[in-house]
């Protein structure tokens, strides 16, 4: 059995005095498509950052591909598309090919990009159907096309885990459907996906597992049991309770 991809055990993280994530335990198994949902400010991005080692937990442990996240060093296995990735694409003159080639950097270190790397880049652009845009600047592309370039970067790096933080904000509906169909295909090919998405419908359609968060974990399990549970209402309702709690303390 392939090892657990992400393993969070009783993780708590606070920004100063503000607790963003409290006592969260969850696992992501190889081949999972996990949707991470919750209201705004519920700690979804923080939880994803904890999984990837961008934050160090105050309490609890995080393991990535079996290793303590702080010691995990094979960066090529994880592809990450941050919430604001496309902002940068607009500000800097970088071509689609240059962006996708960055996926090879964890492999080559200080060495040169060789023919095999270029072939991997070309394949990745082919997979997400942006090969014809290879030499265009990212800033000239639509939001959906830019997101495809970032996904291609992860594919080029041979990532086993794809972590996406609200990838379709500002992307039109048609491109969004095409984008999620692409994620389905990648998941069918065995890539593990963790997706933060504000549109619950997308998550229940696409993901096979759901984690519903509002500082604490309200649900973690398969999508069917999530739909049937009251986790969503509880999680969204909890925002009020948290505020009330602050007034009392």
């Amino acid at each position: 059995m392939p090892p657990t991809v992400v393993d969070l055990d009783d993780v708590t993280f606070a920004y100063g005095d503000t607790v963003a994530v409290r006592d969260v335990s969850l696992t992501v198994e190889s081949g999972d498509f996990l949707g991470l949902v919750g209201p705004n400010g519920s700690g979804k991005t923080t939880l994803l950052h904890l999984m990837l080692g961008l934050h160090t937990p105050d309490e609890g442990t995080v393991r990535l591909f079996g290793a303590p996240v702080g010691e995990f060093d094979d960066g090529s296995r994880v592809g990450y598309v941050s919430q604001r990735a496309t902002d940068r694409g607009g500000a800097m003159p970088v071509t689609v090919r240059e962006c996708v080639t960055m996926g090879r950097f964890a492999h080559v270190g200080h060495g040169r990009i060789d023919a095999a790397d270029r072939a991997a880049v070309a394949d990745a652009m082919e997979t997400v159907a942006i090969a014809d845009l290879a030499d265009r600047l990212l800033s000239e592309l639509s939001g959906g096309q830019q997101q495809r370039a970032f996904i291609a970067r992860a594919i080029a790096s041979d990532a086993d885990l794809l972590a996406l933080d609200e990838p379709t904000v500002g992307v039109d509906a048609e491109s969004r459907d095409a984008f999620y169909a692409l994620l389905d295909r990648l998941n069918d090919d065995g890539i593990t996906i963790v997706l933060i998405e504000h549109d619950i419908g997308v998550v229940t359609d696409r993901a096979d597992r759901v984690a519903c968060l509002n500082t604490e974990l309200f649900h973690h399990g398969d999508t069917e049991s999530f739909v049937e549970s009251d986790a969503l209402a509880d999680a969204y309702g909890a925002t009020g309770q948290v505020v009330e709690h602050h007034h009392h303390s």
């Binding site: 990837l52 080692g53 961008l54 995990f72 060093d73 094979d74 960066g75 090529s76 994880v78 592809g79 990450y80 598309v81 941050s82 990735a85 940068r88 500000a91 800097m92 003159p93 970088v94 071509t95 090919r97 240059e98 962006c99 960055m102 950097f105 964890a106 080559v108 200080h110 990009i113 159907a129 014809d132 845009l133 030499d135 265009r136 600047l137 592309l141 639509s142 096309q145 970067r153 790096s157 972590a163 491109s175 095409a178």
Partner: protein, 355 residues
């Protein structure tokens, strides 16, 4: 779904491809010319250094007569003087390494760092003056500036790690703070020795010393090699720092490297450009290149080419008009920037008209 740039009057071969090939050729010629020029300049500095050795002495004599020949042809009184070659060498090398490092700084929105480190280096020059005046030490002022500049760079990096951003406020405090210390040290030292600080403030070809040119030659090789070796990592971190962290790049290490390289460039460039204008060379050629470049690699190439043109043009203005070199170079650089904006505006119109 595809938005490929084919035009209705496309005659078989995509004009985009032909344009791209032509651009690439032009850039490679420009970069090669810059490389040759830099090599000649470093060659001069080395020959001047080694002129008492047998073979180098002959080559150096050859260089001198080549300079006299150039003066005869151009009707100038410039290339026969070794000190002018020292200044030109320093200028040409600044024109290469400042935009090279600046390309990453500008796109990380760290342009102000260059300005800050220039002021830190100025404090270093002041400390060097004071050391000379009080201890009788006669070492290189630039070496002191380099040490203080690098310490300043590490300080800036430490501050930003703690404040979690290249924020305006800590940077501004560092900038004015080090300048304040510099002015205090200088007024204190003025009583002890005659100090000509103006050359360091506004830049002056005559400020370039033999040691200064040698230091610049060594630093340029170090900076160019460091950027060539870490280009991929610096690009990734500049473009998407979080993804670079997830890919397990040593982001803090590369950030520190970039800031230290900036300090090194600033100290080298301070002689010709002056403390107040040195940051312009990190920023303006890159801003011009970003207007017209079609990729990040092209931005880097064009920034170096524009930097070189600014230095050469600025030298012509400075020598021709008897003006300070710093101001002349920066004014030429800004002129190139304005031309680049006009050019990108017209190409945007062309794209819009076609699209």
């Amino acid at each position: 779904m595809s938005e490929s740039p084919t035009t209705p009057d496309d005659p078989g071969v995509a004009p985009g491809t032909r344009d791209r090939d032509r651009r690439r050729t032009t850039e490679l010629i420009g970069v090669a010319a810059t490389g040759v020029l830099s090599a000649v300049m470093i060659g001069f500095v080395l020959l001047y250094w080694a002129q008492n050795l047998p073979v180098a002495g002959e080559l150096y004599a050859g260089f001198r007569s080549f300079g006299r020949g150039m003066d005869a042809i151009l009707g100038t009184n410039m290339f026969r003087h070794p000190f002018m070659w020292q200044s030109m060498a320093t200028g040409v090398l600044i024109g290469v390494v400042a935009p090279l490092v600046g390309t990453f700084l500008v796109h990380r929105e760290m342009a102000l760092i260059g300005e800050t480190l220039a002021h830190t280096a100025f404090a270093g020059v002041a400390v060097g003056f004071l050391l000379r005046a009080t201890t009788g030490w006669d070492g290189s002022l630039l070496l002191v500036a380099l040490v203080v500049g690098i310490l300043g760079a590490l300080g800036v990096q430490w501050l930003t790690e703690r404040t979690d951003a290249y924020g305006d406020v800590p940077i501004a405090i560092m900038l004015s703070g080090s300048f304040a210390v510099g002015t205090l040290v200088i007024s204190y030292g003025r009583g002890l020795t005659g100090i000509n600080i103006e050359g360091y403030l506004f830049g002056n070809l005559a400020v370039v010393t033999v040691e200064g040119a040698r230091l610049m030659a060594v630093l340029s090789v170090v900076v160019a090699a460091a950027v060539a070796l870490t280009y991929k990592q610096l690009l990734f971190i500049t473009f998407d720092e979080q993804a670079a962290r997830v890919a397990r790049l040593n982001v803090t290490g590369y950030n520190t490297l970039l800031v230290v390289l900036t300090a090194v460039v600033v100290v080298g460039a301070m002689q010709v450009l002056g403390v107040i204008l040195v940051a312009a060379m990190l920023v303006v050629p890159v801003a011009a290149a970003s207007q017209v470049a079609r990729s990040f690699r092209e931005t880097t190439y064009l920034a170096v080419i524009f930097g070189q043109l600014s230095v050469i043009g600025g030298f012509v203005v400075a020598v021709g008009g008897g003006l300070p070199s710093g101001g002349s170079i920066v004014v030429v650089a800004i002129a190139i920037y304005l031309v680049a904006i006009a050019a990108s505006g017209s190409s945007m119109r062309a794209v819009t008209a076609r699209g």
